[in-house]
Symmetry: C2
């Protein structure tokens, strides 16, 4: 009997492989269908694992999205808490800071840019990243502030962030590409404040 | 002798053809090199016409850009005047209104969207549209307001507008795509006000 034989056999893969199978299935489904329409049950089915195993490895759908699509750990609920925690006039700045923080992590920027490129190129608008940003962060912030038009505000917020990524990282507009994060946080934070907080 | 024979012969084409040759050469050069680096002299050379003829058909470089790349008549100097003319707190709204007005003209939207797609897809960032919007409109507005960081403000303004186009026309974020222009002008106008007018 070899060491090999001690490993579980059959169609259910071992522990490490289970997690990888879930991540691979999630990446495929999110990429093909966007964020909102994909259920954890569908991911379990595609990965051929018990749905309970997903909850064993991942806190929730947002966590699995971050680990699979963005390839970084990201606690969306914690980001929402940190954006809302503090003076209301700083919400726009804290929102931009949170996104730049995620965006600028090693490896994440290339993922974001690739997703933005593919979202723009694909004929059928597949928008996992913008749906994730809306649903798990910006809608929650706008709703916590009591806005009745939270979805519109959140989607304008996403447009603002994607426009910033477009200008800085893809078109490389010189002054934006050269600007340091504190400047961008202050300047674009004011615009985000107008989208998420200010009365219209 | 046929009617054909009354037309001018040789390498210099007739009137209508001259204008078309200039437009075709301009479209090629702007698309390949962006807006800023292309001179009217270079366009004349590429079209094989006398530079004076360009001034005969087109008011200036911005006019030729609009006619060739955007395929619409667009008086950039007039747009700047109209943005600046009126209360300072309305500059953001008037800027968004001017861009939506151009964007929503028949045929123009498809051009804009195609340019945005190609700017995102191309490896070498070629950005005729964003350079044109910056140089001929937004930098002039920011400079007229006395800002020392006019270029950064203008480029953030371009990022905001391209983000709006991305969200509305390419990703088709539902609430943004459904929003009527007066709502977008008010909401995104506030964000543009933050970029172009407000102190940071």
């Amino acid at each position: 009997m070899t060491i090999q034989a001690h490993r579980p056999r059959g169609r259910r893969p071992g522990r490490a492989n289970t997690r990888e199978s879930i991540i691979a299935a999630a990446l495929t489904l999110f990429s093909e269908m966007g964020y909102e329409k994909v259920s954890l049950r569908a991911i379990a089915r595609a990965a051929d694992v018990d749905p309970a195993l997903i909850h064993h490895y991942f806190a929730n759908k947002a966590d699995l999205f971050a680990r699979s699509v963005l390839d970084i750990p990201l606690d969306a609920e914690d980001i929402v808490r940190r954006i809302l925690d503090g003076p209301e006039e700083g919400i726009g700045e804290r929102t931009i800071a949170a996104f730049l923080d995620a965006w600028d992590r090693p490896g994440a920027g290339d993922r974001f840019t690739a997703m933005l490129r593919s979202a723009v190129t694909e004929q059928n608008a597949r928008r996992p990243l913008s749906e994730f940003m809306c649903k798990e962060v910006l809608v929650k912030v706008a709703e916590a502030l009591g806005h009745s038009n939270a979805r519109l505000r959140a989607q304008l917020g996403v447009s603002l962030i994607l426009g910033l990524a477009l200008g800085r990282d893809i078109l490389e507009l010189p002054a934006v590409a050269k600007a340091r994060n504190p400047v961008l946080i202050k300047a674009v934070g004011l615009a985000m404040q107008a989208h998420l907080v200010d009365p219209w």
